[in-house]
């Protein structure tokens, strides 16, 4: 595999990482910690929203993020013929 193609593959990978890790930061540190009081004024059923993100929501999003990453990378590997 030549160097430029390799660099392109790597840059696309880094772009995915930046997007996914921003969401990772948003649901846990922003929703669950920094803005928890503001979100707690919103109530869904018996849950205050900030508390729900900190003890439930963030974890669900983490699981989804990894499976999205698996999908994106499998497609990327295919595109660059690296899936052997």
């Amino acid at each position: 595999m030549d160097k430029t193609k390799q660099q392109k593959y790597w840059n696309e990978n880094l772009k995915y990482l930046a997007i996914l890790l921003s969401i990772w930061f948003l649901v846990s540190y922003v929703f669950g910690i920094l803005l928890v009081e503001q979100l707690n004024t919103i109530k869904i059923g018996g849950f205050e929203l900030g508390f729900w993100f900190a003890q439930q929501g963030a974890i669900y999003v983490f699981v989804i993020l990894i499976f999205v990453y698996i999908r994106l990378m499998n497609q990327l590997d295919k595109k660059y013929n690296l899936d052997n």
């Binding site: 593959y9 846990s28 540190y29 018996g46 983490f62 699981v63 698996i70």
Partner: protein
């Protein structure tokens, strides 16, 4: 059947199962001993990783901690799951591509230096030993309460079982035993949670149940906040820790999780890079089942407990209360001599002390569930403790036999010789771990937090920079690891053990507790590494080529021999 008979039956069946699996899948080469021959299916590896990761702390202690700390307990929930996102995206696929057997292998080769390797081995040993001591205490706790044997006898039985399958089976035996242990522990955790959720809210899904209304039509969380207010505790859904501290503790636990050697090594056991990604996804899914249920159990247990004991006459208290009183984990001191339990926040008036560790174990009894459910929880607690202990012992034995003996002391050792060395170091490690379990040092709880801080301050930056920053050289990485660890150790010793003049909460730097300081030490490590490396020569060409290779997922070697 009574609880004790049920417990012996269930523990007997599960232990036989573990030993059976160990005999069926024993290891015959170093590749099988260290990394199960790199042929584990990603779902099986996900199950094994989940069992490896979820220790006595996750199974027995975590829901109890959350139940007393409320919102503050979120640091464990987010911290111990969010680390898997970092693992899956930043570490696992590249380390698998790199191949080899251990984390110090990667550090030593990537930084072309035996000094780096030795620093990594030291960190791996400290982290793993502090962890394993806690597991042995968990085993002792379950045995003493449910089987009414002496705690020490319990620890010795646990040691014998782990010894048998870790020494015989190596990583291969441990992997398949852990798959079975995950099934046992998750079943044991979910059954009582579902029972109690139906009992208290009519909703069979605990994750939804604790946001529902109770039998009296009031939302459970509102009721609990009310009870807390009445008794003088802080509101359950809002915490008492400062925001900056919650932020830093969560980050330290996440990064520490991603840097723990016994978790990382699990991703060396699959066939290809894409399988390493997949197993991280499966692992987190299996972990999330327990981690999203734990906060529900915490709410159910807390509400049940307060309603059962608060302002109740001592002689009217249910059987479970006196059962746990005999273990010394619940104490009642009738300060005002009115024969009634006053459970309040004010320490001078409070008459009841409850060890947080018993909440999960006592929960089924408090909710009056059938005897077999109570026994099942005991078997689940043992599965959680044993599976983690086995994974840690393997890291310890691989560090000694592979990283020290094979790579540094005697590179000419034969494969058979190395296998014997690996088994012998596992035996020694089990004995030391057992000794810690029988004579638990009182700093165990403090050092578990230290383990995460250490992993965050040392391994994580060195590995991430090794993959994502080609220019990173040995001078930068070694300086970063050493300064990161020393800073972390200094802060822990100063504020946990009162050395170097000690200090109180008011003296914490930026208001960050020692538990959260790993995050600061990690940033310092990153900065030091980058600055030092920019003033020192760039790494040799062949090392830069290694970095190029690990970034590309194809052509993975089956099982790297050295």
């Amino acid at each position: 059947m009574d609880i004790q008979t049920w417990t012996w039956v269930l523990v007997g069946i599960t232990f036989t199962l573990y030993i059976g699996i160990a005999i069926w899948s024993r290891a015959s080469s170093t590749g099988e001993f260290y990394v199960a021959g790199k042929g584990v299916h990603p779902i099986a590896n996900g199950l094994a990783t989940a069992a490896d990761w979820m220790s006595a702390a996750s199974f027995i202690s975590m829901a109890g901690l959350i139940s007393f700390d409320g919102y503050d307990g979120s640091v464990y929930l987010m911290g111990w799951t969010g680390g898997y996102v970092l693992l899956a995206l930043l570490l696992a696929p590249y380390l698998r591509k790199f191949g080899k057997f251990t984390v110090p292998d990667f550090i030593g080769d990537r930084y072309y230096s035996n000094v780096a390797r030795v620093v990594a081995v030291m960190c791996a040993l400290i982290v793993s030993f502090t962890y394993v001591a806690g597991q042995m205490r968990g085993v002792g706790l379950v045995f003493s309460r449910f089987l009414e044997v002496d705690i020490n006898t319990g620890v010795i039985i646990g040691m014998f079982i782990v010894l048998f399958y870790a020494v015989l089976g190596g990583m291969k035996g441990i992997t398949y035993t852990q798959v079975a242990q995950y099934c046992v522990l998750i079943f044991a955790f979910m059954v009582p949670a579902i029972f109690i959720s139906i009992q208290m809210t009519g909703n069979p899904i605990p994750q939804l149940g604790f946001g529902s209304t109770g039998t009296d039509g009031v939302y459970l969380l509102d009721k609990l906040n009310g009870l807390h207010q009445e008794l003088g505790f802080h509101e359950y859904t809002s915490g008492s820790k400062s925001k900056i501290d919650v932020f830093f503790i969560t980050a330290a636990l996440m990064v520490g999780t991603a840097g723990l050697p016994h978790v990382i090594v699990r991703f060396f056991t699959v066939k290809k890079v894409s399988d390493a990604r997949k197993s991280a996804g499966w692992a987190l899914l299996f972990i999330a089942i327990l981690y999203t249920t734990a906060p529900a159990i915490a709410v159910f247990a807390r509400t049940n407990m307060i309603e059962t004991v608060s302002n109740t006459k001592y002689e009217d208290l249910p059987d479970w209360f006196s059962n746990w009183e005999t273990t010394g984990l619940i104490t009642f001191d009738d300060k005002n001599k009115d024969g009634t339990v006053q459970y309040v926040a004010d320490a001078s008036m409070n008459e009841l002390t409850i060890d947080k560790d018993i909440m999960v174990l006592a929960n089924p009894e408090i909710a009056r569930l059938p005897n077999w459910v109570i026994a099942l929880v005991a078997a689940g607690g043992l599965a959680a403790a044993l599976s983690t202990a086995a994974g840690l012992l393997l890291v310890i034995s691989a560090s000694v036999s592979h990283d020290i003996i094979k790579k540094i002391v005697n590179p000419n050792i034969t494969e058979n010789g190395e296998l014997i060395a690996a088994r012998l170091s596992a035996v020694v490690a089990v004995i030391i771990a057992g000794w810690f379990g029988i004579n638990p040092p009182d700093f165990v709880a403090a050092t578990v937090a230290l383990a995460f801080g250490l992993a965050a301050a040392s391994f994580f930056p060195a590995i991430v920079l090794g993959i994502f920053y080609k220019r990173m050289n040995k001078e930068g990485a070694i300086a970063g690891m050493i300064i990161g660890i020393l800073l972390m150790l200094y802060y822990m010793m100063k504020f946990k053990f009162d050395w170097f003049g000690g200090g109180t909460k008011e003296d914490w730097w930026f208001g960050i507790s020692p538990e959260g300081f790993g995050t600061v030490a990690m940033f310092v490590n990153f900065i030091v590494s980058i600055i030092i490396s920019s003033f020192t020569p760039e790494p040799p060409k062949e090392v830069q080529e290694i970095v190029d290779t690990i970034r590309i997922p194809n052509n993975v070697g089956e099982a790297h021999e050295h």
